[in-house]
């Protein structure tokens, strides 16, 4: 077939295109994924019983601030990575900022604590549950994020997959924070930060297979 004929075919009775599809799909996926994830965490694990005490609220706020920071930045980047050539418009340094901040805070808090407390601060009571829960709960927000990016046209599939994983890990950590009773900065840095990084790596590995178009 002649290229001219294809061009003519595609231009006949052209419909206007919705320019906001990409951004809307990604935002809807993150919001919908967050609601679903909260429901799963509540049904599967339940929220921590001491949720209204002062100390619990402070640590909940820190965990949420970290997770929301990750999700917010990753969502903005995902709307860019979903578009052709969008990988030129992402900065690896900026996305690392929430992780660097929480690791720095963890180091400071370890510095001020006696060494005998370090093991409890780092491992907490439930490190294994955290290590398993965040990646497992992240499957649902990961699936909806991938669905949103598939509506667009990413050209760097590894990076787009990684950011879908990062969004999912962050959303999952947000929901898990409502259950988790381990209140220490090193715990958050290691187990929240680590599992979110794990989700990111899984997303990077799956991206080329799931996002091809």
């Amino acid at each position: 077939m002649k290229t001219d004929d294809l061009v003519a075919l595609l231009s006949t009775n052209l419909e206007p295109a919705d320019r906001n599809v990409v951004v809307r799909a990604v935002y809807m996926a993150v919001a919908g994924g967050a609601v679903a994830t909260l429901a799963i965490a509540f049904a599967g694990l339940g929220f921590r019983p001491d949720l209204t005490t002062g100390r619990a609220l402070i640590y909940l706020a820190i965990k949420l601030a970290f997770a929301i920071g990750v999700v917010g930045l990753a969502t903005i980047y995902l709307t860019r990575l979903a578009r052709p050539g969008g990988e030129r418009r992402t900065s690896r340094f900026l996305i690392a900022a929430p992780f660097l901040i929480i690791v720095a805070l963890a180091a400071v808090s370890l510095g001020f604590a006696p060494q005998a407390h370090w093991e409890q601060m780092i491992a907490g009571d439930q490190w294994l549950e955290c290590l398993l829960s965040i990646p497992i709960i992240a499957i649902v927000p990961f699936a909806v994020s991938i669905w949103a990016v598939r509506k667009a046209a990413p050209t760097n599939l590894v990076r787009a997959g990684a950011f879908a994983g990062l969004v999912a890990g962050g959303v999952s950590a947000m929901a898990y924070a409502l259950h988790c009773t381990d209140d220490s900065l090193p715990f958050i840095a290691l187990w929240y930060g680590g599992t979110i990084v794990l989700c990111t790596l899984a997303g990077a590995a799956l991206g080329p297979r799931l996002l091809r178009w």
């Binding site: 002649k2 295109a17 050539g85």
Partner: protein, 186 residues
Amino acid sequence: MTRLEPELKALMLASLDGNAASHRALLDRLSRRLRAYYKARLAAVGRGMAEAEDLVQEAILAIHLKRHTYDPREPLTPWVHAIARYKLIDFLRRNRASLAEVPIDEADEFLAAHDDNADAESSYDIRRLMHRLPEGMQCAIEAVKLDGLSVAEAARRCGQSESGVKVNIHRGLKALAALIARETRT
């Protein structure tokens, strides 16, 4: 070259608003650039020119189907170049060529050359491929895109709702693009 970007971008913005003449002018001008681009790239990895036109049409279909992913705040050239390069790499991967041979190219080189061989033909026939689509999609594309009927007329001819016709055209073109990608595997 510096003049070309604002011209093409203006055409793209009009085409996003549904202006068929602008869309046609845009795809026509881009196809000339894509032809020169793919001929040069395929020559660089030692492959035949015959495959260049298949790639031009794959890229044109992708630009058409993915035009909603263009961000109007950004220049158009890098967007087109990213699609062109993505389709090139996808093509070479399908044909098990070594990707290490693909030279890195920059978006601004993309506009530099054009090849106006408008009579160039690809190796497949879209009417033949269309017969492999489900009937509803086939009817909608034939009525609206080939016979030039309005969506309302096509809805009557194909026995579908108007929104059904629009959905079938979009899905049908996507399915055609996938069929073409499979056809051009050597």
